[in-house]
């Protein structure tokens, strides 16, 4: 992970640009071998000591010179495996070529043909397992870390476009007279809204919270995804004519069926997001000081509890924090706890670093900031004081055993390794169950045994004209997978409404 300053990285990139300019002055383009030799552009980041004290974005974004060099690294290979790796099939070689040509706004247009939220995806997509995983350059250099940094380029293109004040609204088809209700304004819902509005359909997005963005505003922290970005992206949709109904819970404020039967919608898309947090089901888990990551992060993000002067929502005063889990949400929780003033934050994970589902970049950032990782450990119970407040965890050590169905080696408890470690705050980040509300209030809506809505290959649910996608279907997944499902659902709805 880079600790190099923005200025230092930019100056290196400037030097590399001069080298390329010299080459071109001789009238030739860099050979593939010369492209291979161009340095992969690191992401400039806030100093780890400083950033652990603030909420500002950790990754500062490429300079123009860095973006130019990174774009020059692309081999523009014929089969473009990167596109197949992208859940929404962004024209990656196309937008990278535009950067090379200096047509930055053209690059933005190329991305936005399939992805209207590039500033979000450029920041939070796990590119290393998607578009960047099959990159020919990375394969040639025998490391996925050396693949073209597609995500960073995508972010730069989006940020540059916004900085220019040049965000074009996409073309909107002739008003079709058809109406679609979108339940939830997270990544799946917003994608559906855009794709349907483009076809000229009337779109109303229902959001239970007071702000649009779903998990992008309540879950993912400011230091990874600034909320002002989400507000601006939502505003673009509003300018396209998408209407938001905030503080509206479909299933309660209005029944799902009534949207079609009484309110005149021609179709509904459900992107209601993740549901009830999972807990460890260990003794003491309802003691004071034990939080789900959802609650902890919602207080800190959506409710702005970090702004102690202004926010009315309190955040628990923590000194020693244990975060249970090894995914991105666990990393977000741990890093948030540190920023909120905890003295020591430890991540407890049953397996080893190699098995962690979190992005390597996020784990690296967390380690740089001083988060301590206790691998091969898991708690067995929470111990409370006389007032019912958590004061310690009983912890057990594990060893890795046989591989399980997911291919990951299962942790096996080491008998007799119990010990008690003091913690005043425990954040449980082991995933979510599904939200039971829609299934309970719409008996015809079929769900699997874990409560996730069942859909066919076109994202259609068991009820005609009702589609679903994102975490309510997938369980806890990623922003981009939700968007991919949204895209598929929108295509099916557009087809249905002809």
């Amino acid at each position: 992970m880079s600790e190099t300053t923005k200025e230092g990285l930019d100056s290196l990139a400037q030097d590399a640009l001069k080298g390329l300019a010299a080459l071109r002055a001789e009238g030739r383009e860099p050979s593939p071998r010369e492209r291979l030799a161009l340095p992969v552009q690191d992401m400039p980041c806030q100093d780890s000591g400083k950033r652990a004290q603030n909420m500002l974005e950790v990754a500062e974004g490429y300079s123009e010179a860095q973006a130019r060099i990174e774009a020059e690294r692309c081999l523009n290979c014929k089969n473009a495996p990167c596109v197949a790796g992208c859940p929404v099939r962004v024209d990656i070689p196309g937008f990278i070529l535009k950067i090379r040509e200096g047509d930055y706004l053209g690059a933005a247009r190329a991305i936005k043909r399939t992805n209207l939220l590039p500033s979000v995806c450029g920041r939070v997509c796990p590119q290393e397992v998607q578009c960047q995983a099959p990159c020919t350059l990375g394969k040639s250099l025998k490391s996925v870390d050396k693949a073209v940094q597609i995500g960073r380029l995508e972010r730069w293109v989006a940020d540059n476009e916004r900085a220019c004040g040049a965000c074009d609204l996409p073309d909107i088809g002739k008003e079709s007279g058809k109406r679609i209700a979108v339940v939830g304004s997270g990544p799946a819902g917003l994608t559906v809204a855009i794709d349907l509005r483009r076809e000229g359909h009337e779109v109303v997005v229902y959001e239970a919270f007071q702000k649009t963005g779903g998990v992008m505003v309540y879950g993912i922290p400011e230091f990874r995804l600034p909320k002002s970005l989400i507000a601006m992206e939502s505003e673009v949709l509003a300018e396209m004519g998408v209407r938001y109904e905030l503080n509206f819970l479909v299933g309660r404020t209005r029944k799902l069926g009534a949207l079609i039967a009484e309110d005149g919608f021609d179709a509904v898309f459900i992107g209601a997001g993740a549901g009830l947090p999972k807990f460890m089901e260990m003794p003491g888990e309802n003691l004071v000081g034990v939080f789900s990551a959802n609650e902890y992060l919602t207080r800190a993000n959506l409710m702005k509890a970090y702004d102690r002067e202004r926010a009315a929502t309190p955040i628990y005063p923590s000194r020693r924090v244990a975060v249970l889990g090894g995914g991105n949400v666990a990393m977000d929780s741990a890093r948030m706890a540190l920023r909120l003033g905890a003295e020591e934050v430890r991540v407890l994970y049953r397996r080893t670093q190699a098995e962690m589902p979190a992005r390597a970049e996020e784990v690296g950032h967390a380690m740089e900031e001083g988060i301590i990782f206790d691998f091969l450990t898991s708690p067995t119970r929470v111990i409370g004081d006389k007032d019912g407040r958590a004061e310690a965890l009983e912890i057990l050590s594990y060893a890795l055993g046989e591989s399980d169905a997911s291919g990951r080696r299962s942790p096996v408890a080491i008998r007799g390794s119990e010990r008690v470690v003091p913690f005043d705050t425990i954040i449980v980040a082991i995933g979510n169950e599904s939200n039971p509300l829609l299934a309970r209030t719409s008996p015809d809506l079929k769900v699997d045994k874990r409560g996730h809505i069942l859909v066919d290959e076109k994202q259609k649910t068991s009820i005609d004209r009702i589609y679903a996608g994102g975490d309510i279907v997938l369980g806890a997944a990623t922003v981009i997978l939700a968007m991919g499902e949204g895209r598929r659902a929108a295509a099916a709805i557009n087809e249905l409404l002809g």
Binding site: N247, P277, E285, F291, K304, T313, P317, P436
Partner: protein
């Protein structure tokens, strides 16, 4: 955001506001609640039970007590001001013809009790209401409840109105059914401060009378996402927002629930930031 249509000080620290919420007014049923927020950016989300609704006017009525910063911010709103409101949330009270029902309300808990009394009456039950408060000034909705109830018993802790007693005393007497011709209640509904509900449940337990309580825990989204409202019921973790708000009072882990309500107490005191979480609840 929704507009405040009317506002009235019911008693010391207790406000009744009517807000414009046509969809909530149409959908809500007895026992459900809403989440309100005085300010979208920095306000706290607080659950308040719906005291009444008027579908023709498109409004719902909320009753709350100013106990902390967030309820004070709400009380500072005047007619015509707008607040954020989400609802109706939670499951409606299960209403059927039980036979004899006793509805116990303490302080601000009398407000959410009112629609439940109405629904039980409408289903053909004989309903006795026990209305209690610390002192006479804190009693609300007496007249409305008196009109609905077959039997109305008023108690205050200090004897300044009605009988000087805790609500559990008349409740115990009714359960004993010692008077000639008296019958044991078939169901008890108790809404009020947690400690009152706990002791109501303890009072009815030896008589084996099913006792519903309505819990008002810490909550953020209120839609089944954050898990902050969890409470142990019969040894299982339940979520008040989607599994409740009403539970069998004999199965609730009261001490666990009350300590969770005190989660932010020290912090609130330090920051002069006393919120609705203070024991007793906003309703």
């Amino acid at each position: 955001m929704t507009k405040i249509l009317s506002k009235r000080l019911l008693s010391e620290e207790v406000y009744r506001i009517e807000v414009e919420a046509p969809l909530v007014a149409r959908e809500r049923k007895a026992g459900q609640f809403v989440i309100v927020q005085a300010d979208d950016d920095f306000g706290e989300r607080i659950p308040l039970t719906i005291a009444d609704a008027d579908p023709s006017r498109g409004s719902v009525t909320l009753v709350f007590q100013t106990v902390g910063a967030s309820t004070h911010a709400l009380a500072a709103k005047e007619i015509g001001d707008r607040i954020t409101l989400l609802g109706p949330l939670g499951n409606p009270t299960h209403i059927e013809k039980f036979g004899k029902a006793v509805c116990v309300g303490g302080g601000i808990g009398l407000a959410p009790l009112y629609p439940i009394v109405g629904a039980l009456k409408a289903a053909g039950n004989e309903v006795a209401v026990i209305a209690g408060a610390r002192t006479a000034e804190l009693l609300i909705m007496q007249e409305e409840l008196k009109l609905l109830a077959d039997e109305f018993i008023l108690v205050t802790d200090d004897g300044s109105a009605g009988r000087k007693a805790l609500v559990t005393q008349p409740l115990k007497e009714i359960c004993e059914a010692s008077a000639p011709g008296a019958r044991k209640p078939d169901i008890v509904v108790a809404i009020g401060p947690p400690i009152m509900m706990k002791f109501c449940a303890e009072t009815t337990r030896p008589f084996g009378v099913k006792t519903l309580v309505s819990l008002n825990t810490i909550m953020i989204d209120g839609t089944g996402m954050c898990g902050g409202c969890r409470v142990s019921v019969g040894g299982e973790t339940k979520f008040v927002c989607v599994d409740g708000p009403e539970f069998d009072g004999h199965l609730v882990d009261w001490d666990g629930m009350m300590s969770r309500l005190r989660s932010y107490k020290t912090q609130e005191e330090a920051a002069h930031h006393k919120c609705h979480l203070v024991e007793g609840g906003a309703r």
